[in-house]
Symmetry: C2
Subunit: 344 residues, 2 copies
Amino acid sequence: MRKASITIKEIARQLNVSKSTVSRALRDSPEISEETKKRVIALAESLNYSPNPIALSLLRNRTQTLGIIVPDIANPFFSTAIGGVEDIAYSRGYHTMIYQSHESYERELADTKHIATRRVDGLIVSISSQTENHDHFVELQEQGIPVVFFDRVSETMPSHKVRVDDYKGAYEATEHLISRGCKSIAHIAGPANLSISRNRLKGYQDALTHHGIELHDEWVVSSEYNQAGGTERAYQLMALRNRPDAIFAASDRIAIGVHWALRQLGYRMPDDVAIVGFSDLSISSLLDPPLSSVAQPSFEMGQLAATLLLDLIESKSTPVAFETRVLTSNLIIRKSSMKELVGD
Amino acid sequence: MRKASITIKEIARQLNVSKSTVSRALRDSPEISEETKKRVIALAESLNYSPNPIALSLLRNRTQTLGIIVPDIANPFFSTAIGGVEDIAYSRGYHTMIYQSHESYERELADTKHIATRRVDGLIVSISSQTENHDHFVELQEQGIPVVFFDRVSETMPSHKVRVDDYKGAYEATEHLISRGCKSIAHIAGPANLSISRNRLKGYQDALTHHGIELHDEWVVSSEYNQAGGTERAYQLMALRNRPDAIFAASDRIAIGVHWALRQLGYRMPDDVAIVGFSDLSISSLLDPPLSSVAQPSFEMGQLAATLLLDLIESKSTPVAFETRVLTSNLIIRKSSMKELVGD
DNA sequence: CTGAAAGCGCTTACAG
DNA sequence: CTGAAAGCGCTTACAG
């Protein structure tokens, strides 16, 4: 079916020279005469020759390809980060292969396996929420395929990491709710195996404590990072005898579920319940009332992760030391949390 | 850097047999003794051997990889369709390489070029809105790399195509607005080089005509398929001396921009202006009021496109005839278009 | 300045 | 039943 592509051999035949000469001429080797170079290059162009990257891969044991595993490409946070990775990768002559774990450990395992057999040159990954064991990433790295984490990083595995200051973002979001007069602030945390979930929870707890507010266990619940989880947890929280007057959600997807639930239940936002999310997805500002959220520089995170990975791939020596880059988050205040301050 | 993977040669050495024998044993060839097979397979497993796909690609001139070009992976319509493609591809032993054209013709051209040199086995594509010339796809197909279009198809190029019934979807959406008593219905069309835009426009026009409603040129404007375009066009339409009482947008992204603009301008939906979009993105139902929209089976479109493409790739012979599969769209009515019928 | 040879990891006619 | 050889498309020491 596939039409035979034109090869170096064919050019050599037509020009009555050896394959070696053609190869050298094409790579502009100094040992080839200008005369010959010209003839070779002219014919190559007229034949529309392009070297077979498969052959080069076999030779160099490199594919010029980066793997990237995210839980879900439909999540704008991840698709934007992927955009950042591609931006850097393309400019440095690499291609990107995108995998989705769908928050499944098994799927993530299969993806890393595929990456190993496909001889991808390196991996950028944001861990699935169901993953508790990071051995598959360790193995990949031991095989010589470097791994860089972003956002959902491994705390145990030594490697480059790119993340935002989740703790500070959560702290500020909570402090903001306190400053708007909220007295009973609930938190819907993400799955506990992800460090981002734990850091955000800690930020929430510390903000309350530092402001002399007692922690209530019943106001801290946990959910997958999706809308359905947010809706369920909101029902649960609002059903409490002692219901909260504010909810800080560990992600915008959760917050969107909360938003929907509160509307169904007839609460006014922010007057009855103030809410703040995390990630600042573009749709969040379209809700009514628009959602306050902690913004993350997703595109930059992708760029940075790609840069660190490519430097690792292209460095001859083993890395000096692994580094963790922490980007700053940024609280965006919108109507969903702008509770009127009651004057006295 | 990269640790040497274990090869067939290494297994042969350890077992004191030839590479040929190892290769045959691993592929369970009938000409190898059970005895030898067992030894080879046992060692291969203990060494964690996996065949180098690069070597196979070079041999077979096949990469077991599908290319897919979409304008933007962050658009949920496309990310869902990609999910459908992957679903089928994985189950048939293929991998997917995702490219984004970002609605740019130049980028799309570079992507097809990359696909050709990378020896991808086939391409699934939804055309960029800035593309007027489809020669790059024709060339790819002539080189023996089959192309299947979905959603944004080429009308001129012979190939398999998967799309929805845009005309009927638009017709029904418009008819629905008429049935809710709207008298002056505007349409924000997509870029005219895309057939989906033209078909949706035609559906709108025919619905009006068939119901004896005169067409007004000033009520038909055009926009890129994004939110900013929808906002701009909404401002333009509502500024008219003779302003519309309904807007049918060629996509949900456009409709979301309209929704936002109308809220800014102080119009009530649907009472002042009823709106309907196209695609039924999941966020559309979260808007207040929730957006009516024509739903497209995006996942199924991806699955179908992948199936058609893989059949093409794996068939020995040239395709019998190219087919166009038209899936049915489905109008979802929500509050944004449920204008109260005025009783008499 | 140019060519023959070996090799990347694998498969598969062709011999035996 | 097993092995030696050729070949997929390319690069690069090694000779000349």
